[in-house]
């Protein structure tokens, strides 16, 4: 019983970290309809900034997160203006080609600037410790990640379903010309949505760095994981992504615990089963 509970807590923490890192991709793929394979690259840039801010500038963890998110968005905006804007509404495969190109470039440049070694984002003492849950201990960082995940989920849900911005974004994606004629500044809405997704990527990259260490190949290494999680959840659905992360996190954790040598089979067979039952993703909307 204790073991089950213990594994369940591990699953929850892992799922929430997955959610934190990949939710930004759900925004780009689901709401903006851009298959942004460079999502991991932005998460990685965030991680590098945080690592740099803490080790070279001596900033605290909180400040480093803020700086990392801001700096990543600042880097991403020109990319949005000059590259991504060209592929809004383009066929998915064209988007794949472009964003793979962006990813290659970012990997190459990062490797050149920071070298191929692992970078960490050191945790402040409060987060580095662990909490005794009675039957086991759990690192404070994981609790922090769970809390952050919940906050991000709630915040996004409010933003997209309860504010004017969310309505505008939906309107623009559904029919840009119509939205423009209604006075919505479509380019601005797209840029803002892109900035949000990049900011989320950077945040996830920093907080998830304990689990997914920062190195140049980060951008491609975890791409599949992000893609799978978002699609299984149903692109664009915040609750769907959350559900998918928790479910897949649970399946992966349970699989690794019960039969680690068949862990990969577990995970991908589960993905096939889920998608077969929910061909649009768990909470995906019909087209």
């Amino acid at each position: 019983m204790q073991t089950i509970l213990s594994v369940a807590i591990d699953a929850l923490a892992y799922g929430m970290i997955l959610f934190l890192i990949s939710i930004g991709l759900s925004v780009t793929m689901g709401l903006m309809r851009v298959v942004n394979l460079a999502h991991g690259a932005f998460a990685m840039i965030g991680g590098y900034f945080a690592s740099y801010a803490m080790s070279a500038l001596g900033l605290g963890y909180g400040l480093a997160i803020v700086l990392a998110v801001t700096a990543t968005v600042i880097i991403a905006l020109p990319l949005e203006r000059f590259l991504y804007r060209r592929i809004y509404g383009a066929p998915e495969l064209t988007q794949v080609l472009m964003t793979i190109g962006v990813t290659f470039c970012i990997i190459g440049i990062t490797n050149y600037l920071f070298g191929p070694t692992l970078k960490t984002v050191p945790l402040p003492p409060d987060l580095a410790g662990s909490t005794d849950l009675g039957f086991r201990t759990i690192s404070n960082h994981r609790l922090f990640a769970i809390a952050c995940g919940l906050m991000v989920a709630a915040g996004l849900w409010l933003l997209f379903s309860r504010t004017g911005f969310g309505i505008k974004l939906r309107a623009v994606v559904d029919n840009a010309a119509m939205a423009a004629s209604l006075g919505v500044r479509t380019q601005w809405v797209y840029a803002a949505a892109f900035a949000i997704s990049v900011a989320l990527a950077a945040l996830g990259g920093v907080i998830g760095a304990e689990l997914l260490p920062i190195e140049p190949y980060y951008a491609l290494r975890y791409m599949v994981t992000f893609l799978v999680v978002v699609s299984v959840g149903g692109a664009g659905s915040i609750p769907g992504a959350l559900l998918a992360c928790l479910l897949l996190g649970a399946i992966e954790t349970a699989g690794r615990y019960l039969a680690p040598e068949y862990g990969e089979f577990f995970f991908y067979l589960a993905v096939i089963a889920i998608v077969s039952i929910f061909p649009r993703g768990l909470l995906g909307r019909a087209n």
Partner: protein, 390 residues
């Protein structure tokens, strides 16, 4: 256009090998992609050798040509090796980080009359694929076997092994399990986990369930190793007194700053530590650090490459610069020398390097840098792996 001229020049050079002075060495390694760090170390080791010994053997000048195979890709490796041989006219093939890449190129050697010096790829079987293969790195059987006895001697009777589920991991597991049970210990469990495991907490739970006093682990160096060690600490296993042993892959020097205090006191066995105390190593580390740029990036593939260059230089010496693979390989059989890692020799039968394996402990220096501190030496270890294949 440049390329055309270059290949024309190369062709010219080829024609003039008779009274020639340039001997080309083709090096294949992961110079980009997820293993770029290891490729960089190949280059650093080779550059260090040139810095210390010059690029000439007698009258002959050595020229190294690099080709990139970012991840294990035997088809690509073979195509590039072939290109190096027939187009660039290399007399020696070297490098090879991954076993399948080396395996794929072995089929070329005999017809091409080219020896291969493996600078990393660590599965035992490569050397039997062709009589022209010489290896200056290590095998997992070689590095993982000694620790079995270490663990038993530390008073531990029951252990589990946790390895990545691919050939090197399975080699490491077999080597450790064999050594540990031979010493009298009992293997409680063998956990094989997928290579791309991100979250190791369920694995830690399994270790806890097994009730073992010690864990032997093998993961490829890099992000997963970091995640594993962090998870080991976070799970409280370390606090509960469970000991973690591993091969040196887990604590390769470039990863140590990221691992931080998490690995302090952790014991590993390996063929090379950057901190090895000898004049040869001091000179090597100095030169290789300069070559790689950031000294913190220096790691074990560099020494494999450095010694590989030594072997190649001896081959050139023996053949006087003419292309004669058989003679070259014969010349280095039984060759022994003082490597930066300690005394080494090429076993005549297997053409694999015989070397000391060191038990090391992760320690923190006076200036706060982490390093692998050598605490015990297992002298003149061959490769027990070949026996295991047969």
């Amino acid at each position: 256009m440049k390329r055309l001229i270059a290949s024309a020049l190369a062709a010219l050079c080829l024609c003039s090998t008779a009274y020639a002075d340039t001997i080309k060495v083709g090096v294949i390694g992961p110079f980009s992609g997820p293993f770029a760090l290891q490729g960089k170390n190949f280059k650093a080791g080779i550059d260090a050798w040139f810095a210390l010994h010059g690029n000439k053997v007698g009258d002959d000048e050595i020229q190294v040509i690099y080709r990139d195979v970012p991840h294990a890709d035997p088809a690509q490796s073979k195509a590039l090796s072939q290109e190096l041989v027939v187009k660039e006219g290399v007399q020696y093939l070297a490098g090879y980080y991954f076993t399948p890449d080396a395996m794929a190129a072995t089929s070329l050697l005999e017809q091409a009359n080219v020896p291969m010096v493996v600078m990393n790829a660590a599965s035992s079987g490569i050397v039997i694929k062709s009589p022209y293969v010489v290896r200056t790195s290590f095998t997992l059987w070689q590095t993982a076997s000694p620790i079995g006895k270490v663990v038993f001697d530390a008073g531990i009777k029951q252990a589990v092994s946790v390895v990545s589920d691919y050939a090197p991991g399975i080699d490491a597991d077999s080597a450790f399990s064999t050594a540990f049970t031979e010493a009298g210990g009992e293997m409680l469990e063998t956990v094989r986990m997928p290579l791309d495991t991100n979250d190791f907490s369920p694995i830690m739970q399994r270790i806890r369930d097994s009730g073992a006093q010690a864990v032997f682990a093998f993961l490829p160096s890099g992000p997963t190793a970091l995640g594993f060690v962090k998870s080991f600490n976070d799970s409280g296993l370390k606090a509960d007194g469970v000991k973690l042993f591993a091969t040196g892959d887990l604590t390769q020097e470039p990863d140590l700053p990221a691992l931080g205090d998490a690995t302090l006191g952790m014991q590993t066995t390996f063929h090379y530590a950057v901190s090895h105390d000898s004049p040869e190593n001091k000179a090597f580390v100095e030169a290789a650090s300069k070559a790689i740029g950031d000294p913190k990036e220096l790691s074990f593939p560099a020494v494999g490459a450095f010694d590989g260059m030594y072997v190649i230089s001896k081959m050139i010496e023996a053949t006087g610069g003419t292309q004669d693979a058989k003679k070259a390989v014969e010349a280095v059989k039984g060759l022994s020398w003082e490597s930066p890692r300690g005394p080494v020799s090429i076993a005549p039968g297997t053409r694999h390097i015989t070397q000391n394996i060191y038990l090391r402990e992760v320690a923190k220096s006076a200036v706060g840098a982490y390093y692998n501190k050598e605490i015990q030496t297992f002298a003149n270890q061959g490769d027990p792996g070949l026996a295991a294949i047969k």
